[in-house]
């Protein structure tokens, strides 16, 4: 399984634990990644606020690079996934629009032909690696762990840009992966709601209120940890949980794991190599629970 790897900015910036954990898991699963080194930021939906066409051109440039490599793109960020999915949908749907985009790309000698596939690592687990294979590779089952799946927005909406109706497993992929790793998914109301990150610099009170709501809801339903496929959700849910606790005057302290960290733990990778020591909310309670389970040879 070969992919053009698009790690996104945050996995090496404010969430530096994500990039190494994702590449370690990929290596363990035999995913062959070639990084799209010259690709730009997707615009994250923010650049698109001031210029949607510009955003589409930047993403089409990345698509053209992946087409030249003849590989589907694999992302590890829901926001990148969502923004690229939306750009791809707009450009693929309208040949005239694509021609205008390609007119911009032509100066670099690139052309987007409309064939790119963009897949988040979460979907790769379900659709390419396969849940049975994943299950067979587990050496440290998460049987003691109750995990709240936090999808956030961009990996579930808008459904048409993410082609979830053609791939029905995508809407329940986090639960499927948690179960394949031996853990128990915890149902809570906010699992596909917004984490609040996009308005963190604009309206921090609201952004932090969302963190408090989701983490508290998961906690009272017995979650030991929350897992998210989005580093931006992670930045808010982990980085601002202390503020959230202050806002609601409650002790929450729910560890927030990146998806590859959760997978890596079950595959027997070293917690330190997965960056579990680099979280604001300590992941020690998770590791303690896991230590109760014997590691399979």
């Amino acid at each position: 399984m070969k992919f053009a790897f698009y790690p996104g900015c945050v996995s090496r910036g404010a969430c530096p634990e994500l990039y190494p954990s994702a590449t370690a898991v990929a290596a363990k699963l035999g995913l062959e990644l070639e990084e799209l080194r010259g690709a730009s930021c997707t615009g994250a939906g923010v650049l698109q606020e001031s210029n949607l066409f510009l955003g589409d051109c930047l993403n089409a440039r990345t698509f053209a690079m992946a087409e030249a490599m003849d590989r589907p793109i694999m992302t590890i960020c829901s926001t990148c996934q969502g923004v690229m999915g939306q750009a791809r949908q707009r450009i693929n749907a309208d040949p005239d629009y694509r021609a205008r985009v390609n007119q911009v790309l032509a100066e670099e000698g690139l052309e987007y032909k409309g064939t790119v596939q963009v897949k988040h690592m979460l979907w790769v687990m379900v659709e390419d690696v396969g849940l049975d294979t994943l299950k067979s590779l587990v050496v440290r089952p998460l049987s003691e762990l109750r995990v709240a799946p936090f999808y956030g927005c961009y990996i579930v909406r808008p459904r048409s840009a993410l082609e979830v109706d053609e791939h029905v497993g995508r809407l329940t992929a986090l639960e499927s992966v948690i179960e394949a790793l031996g853990g128990t998914p915890v149902e809570f109301p906010g699992k596909t709601r917004c984490c609040g990150f996009p308005i963190l610099t604009i309206n921090e009170v609201n952004a932090v209120a969302m963190v408090a709501k989701h983490t508290e809801d998961a906690k009272v339903r017995g979650a030991d940890a929350m897992v998210t496929p989005c580093p931006l959700c992670h930045l808010n849910l982990d980085g601002y949980q202390v503020k959230a606790m202050g806002q609601v005057r409650q002790r929450i302290e729910l560890p927030i794991l990146h998806l590859p960290q959760l997978i890596g733990l079950a595959l027997g990778l070293d917690p330190k190599a997965l960056g579990l020591g680099r979280h604001i909310i300590s992941t020690a309670p998770v590791l303690e629970k896991l230590s109760k389970v014997a590691v399979r040879a």
Binding site: P16, G45, L58, R193, I199, G239, G277
Partner: protein, 332 residues
């Protein structure tokens, strides 16, 4: 087919009013809607069940409610599409609005917010002898947004309203766009000032809930983004929202990738001492865990190609104006 409806009920006249779930088993035709099922319950099983409905053709917008957790028109939702493997279908009133009884919500806050955006044309100059004329071309981009039937589905599932009732919300802001972007309207600068305020366009989280649940393809969030663009184009750039967008775009143009250290500093302003002090605890906690982004921000390889795209797009958009950034969104 046989279906179990699990309905969220609330009776304000009960001795101690409290909401609770009640299940009804009902037989519906294979093509029957959730509304058909609810009406059947009311007519044949439980006449105390309160719900609003009228046209049964997804035109009047009366029967928005939460079905299996997401807002939808009951008359547009087939039972067969939501009754998964014999599991009960949950039916609740719309969210983010006070409940009057059972599935009936009080829409007063909804209408107050729609009124607050001045949803009427404000023209200038002498009145024409006949009607105000607008070209087909100038009106086409409004074709989606005028489809709004004010059902409240978007307001129901808005993630911001869940934590902040002050937000104008997706329905009112989509309506605001409908008038602000009308070629006959002449109150642009006054409108932009109004929508730029606290609780306005910048408070949306871009979560796509409203785009997903709207039964008419209005895509309120996309209208809010188009309003942000218009607000900035009208020179209103001194908000954290506008500065965040501008700073983000500048950083990408400069280096091709996000600089997470400079983005908040540029947004708040390097001399905004109170805000920077507020940031300190979060920054210190991150630094202690070695979570800080690189201080020396590196550009992507071949960043000059990104810069060239910025320049080329700018030329094209200034040149013929035909490369619209307000492209009509595809159906969700």
């Amino acid at each position: 087919m046989q279906v179990t409806l699990k309905v969220r009920r609330y009776n304000p006249e009960a001795e101690k009013p409290k909401d609770y779930w009640q299940e009804y088993n009902v037989e519906v035709e294979s093509a029957g809607t959730v509304l058909d099922a609810l009406i059947k319950v009311r007519e044949e099983t439980d006449e105390t069940l309160a719900l609003r409905c009228s046209c049964r053709s997804s035109i009047c917008g009366s029967c928005a409610m939460r079905i299996n957790g997401h807002a939808a028109l009951a008359c547009k939702t087939r039972v067969s599409a939501v009754a998964h493997q014999g599991e009960p279908v949950t039916v609740e009133p719309v969210g983010n609005l006070p409940v009057i009884k059972d599935l009936v919500a009080d829409f007063q806050p909804f209408w107050d917010k729609v009124r607050a955006v001045q949803p009427w044309l404000q023209t200038a100059g002498p009145e024409p002898e006949k009607e105000y004329l607008a070209s087909n071309e100038a009106m086409m981009h409004l074709a989606g947004v005028v489809n709004c039937i004010m059902c409240g589905a978007c307001v129901s599932d808005c993630t911001v309203l869940e934590v902040d009732k002050n937000f104008l919300g997706p329905a009112a802001l989509a309506k605001a766009y409908r008038f602000a972007a009308d070629p006959r309207d002449a109150a642009t600068s006054q409108r932009m000032g109004l929508y730029n305020q606290y609780g306005g366009v910048w408070d949306c989280t871009r979560c796509f809930e409203c785009v997903q649940v709207c039964p008419k393809g209005v895509a309120p969030m996309d209208r809010i983004m188009a309003l942000r663009e218009r607000v900035m184009a009208n020179g209103l750039k001194d908000t954290y929202g506008a500065r965040h967008t501008e700073a983000f775009t500048e950083i990408i143009e400069h280096s091709g990738r996000l600089d997470e250290l400079r983005l908040p500093l540029k947004t708040y302003g390097y001399t905004n001492i109170p805000k920077l002090i507020e940031l300190m605890p979060v920054a210190i906690r991150a630094l202690a865990k070695r979570k800080s982004p690189p201080v020396l921000h590196k550009s992507i390889p071949g960043v000059e190609n990104v810069k060239r795209i910025f320049k080329k797009v700018d030329q094209l958009q200034k040149g013929d104006g035909k490369v619209s950034t307000e492209k009509a969104p595809p159906k969700p």
